[in-house]
Symmetry: C2
Subunit: 336 residues, 2 copies
Amino acid sequence: MTKRLTTIKDIARELGISVATVSRAMRDTYDVSAETRKLVLDTAAKMNYRPNFNATGLVKSGTHKIAVIIPAITNYYFSTVITGIQEYALEKNYQVMLYLTNDSAYWETKVVRELSLSSVDGLLVCITCETTDLSHFQELIEADMPLVFFDRVPDTINTSMVVQDDYTGACKATEHLIAQGYTRIAHLAGPRGLNLTQQRMQGYMDTLKRHNLESFGIIHSGFSDENGRQDMQMLFNGDVKPDAIFSVNDRKAIGAILWLRERHIPVGAEVGVIGFTNDPTSKIISPSLSTIAEPAYEIGRTSCEVLIRHIQKQNYPAQEISLPTELIVRESTKRS
Amino acid sequence: MTKRLTTIKDIARELGISVATVSRAMRDTYDVSAETRKLVLDTAAKMNYRPNFNATGLVKSGTHKIAVIIPAITNYYFSTVITGIQEYALEKNYQVMLYLTNDSAYWETKVVRELSLSSVDGLLVCITCETTDLSHFQELIEADMPLVFFDRVPDTINTSMVVQDDYTGACKATEHLIAQGYTRIAHLAGPRGLNLTQQRMQGYMDTLKRHNLESFGIIHSGFSDENGRQDMQMLFNGDVKPDAIFSVNDRKAIGAILWLRERHIPVGAEVGVIGFTNDPTSKIISPSLSTIAEPAYEIGRTSCEVLIRHIQKQNYPAQEISLPTELIVRESTKRS
DNA sequence: CTGGGTTTCGATAACGTTCTCGCTACTATT
DNA sequence: AATAGTAGCGAGAACGTTATCGAAACCCAG
């Protein structure tokens, strides 16, 4: 109820010295003798002293907090990215504040705008799939607030961004399908307007062209397994049906496998399926799902690293980092 | 680079009035005329003013931030709990800071101890499975810091806690196995010392006893699917083998199904498996997994609600809330 | 002893807000 | 017309910390 925490003044009074000395002793800086320093540190520990970040933040105008703005965390990719962010941040003594936009542009704008600029040192954001207007981010940049995008990045804004190599990842996936002998390949694409959707689609199309193949259909929709099922329904409506599916992510690919399984269409032998992410369920589902593994944890770490660099030295040049992916072959692309 | 944000003083100077008036106008309180209020609000918007939380926090000694300390977020349960916490917090205008302990008691203690008490208004924590010493939490309580535990709760400490009804959930699961005709039932238990492990085990044992059955083995280990596999190996070593498994969570149950599938032991028909959580992969795996659904999202929301109540009125009595679970029957417990 | 150079420390002003007073000017009451 | 009451505002202290500047206290060379 009282909740009077012990302050630097209490320690000063206790020891009969000035607050300035205590402050200096606490941050073991120059201008303080070894013995008083030890004395201060000991009594600080004894009195259970904790620094008041509001006060330090006020005078130093820095809060050692970063905001992470992300569509959701209930999937493997995002939660792993956050784990990477969190671990790096803690190493560097930064604290992370979490904001979920639930893939709503309205919430994203609201959070960014209402987020008191003074309460964080920088932002790490993955935009929603609805985001088209970027003015709320533009305002941050004009206020010199460090900002780095990851995974889903806008392409008309000049800041640091870190992504997996979506284009060559898609190339690898398509290449693999072709090597397995599939020829009527369709693509379950992501929502339009997302850079990532564009990159993965482009990799798919370029690889087909390189092999003189035509696309057997591209359907844009959301990222859920339910979306995957619906897309399959549309794709298999016609007379000639595809014999392979490259999905923009694993969740939709899993939806596709489920759809095929229900119709007793042999996955792999008759129609191959490959995803993107390497979600843990991709090796639990049967048949297990071939996929392109994304370095989610590293994306979290390095985007946090880039952000902290921006925070610590102003005018640190904007980076564009692209981390490699890896093809993982499982049962869903085995012909026999 | 300059990053000089506009302050309340700038607005006062601009309008030729005092800072006190601006401050009052901003929080539309008494003692300010409607017209000056409007004037202040308009110029504040025009000058792009954002409140400095360090300053308000310093004088009001409240930060509108809560800390969430959790073992991990890369699984369905925890990430869903956090989603619930986040949404409720945002509604009430609180911000959430995330700390991952990675199930290490060392990190938990470190985070709690170094977390400046003055930087958050309260804590929401789910302890690690190693946590035995609770002194770091005890210190918080003595400093009157609001604290509520969820899911994994210590039982020797006097604070609010919110959990799912582990005991009756386990009863339902065991009851269901018995109703399906399984008789040689084993239990894949959680780590020793966890309240949740104890509750689910007790529900299992009491239900068996009520039906005059004996336990066919209890194995304690971690929460991963790998743990589930290893436990199965041990259980099936003997001459007489169990015909049903009740697992403390879905991940271990999935490990069990995988283990059985690899050995071509028909899941359901020969050995039934039931889990706990209702992880989304439980309906993707084949055969799909029967389970006890936990209200993860509601646990997040209500624990956040209880915490904010504690923050807002001192001496709010400690709550012990237990949310109901639900039996979900799928293929893994079907005999035919 | 004197004087210049260190070392160690203390006073004090900031940081941006809120809060407690008190003061003015206006309205209402008698 | 005099007084009481009230609405609106300003001056200044406070919150806990850091930063700047200067003042002791000490050392050692001359």
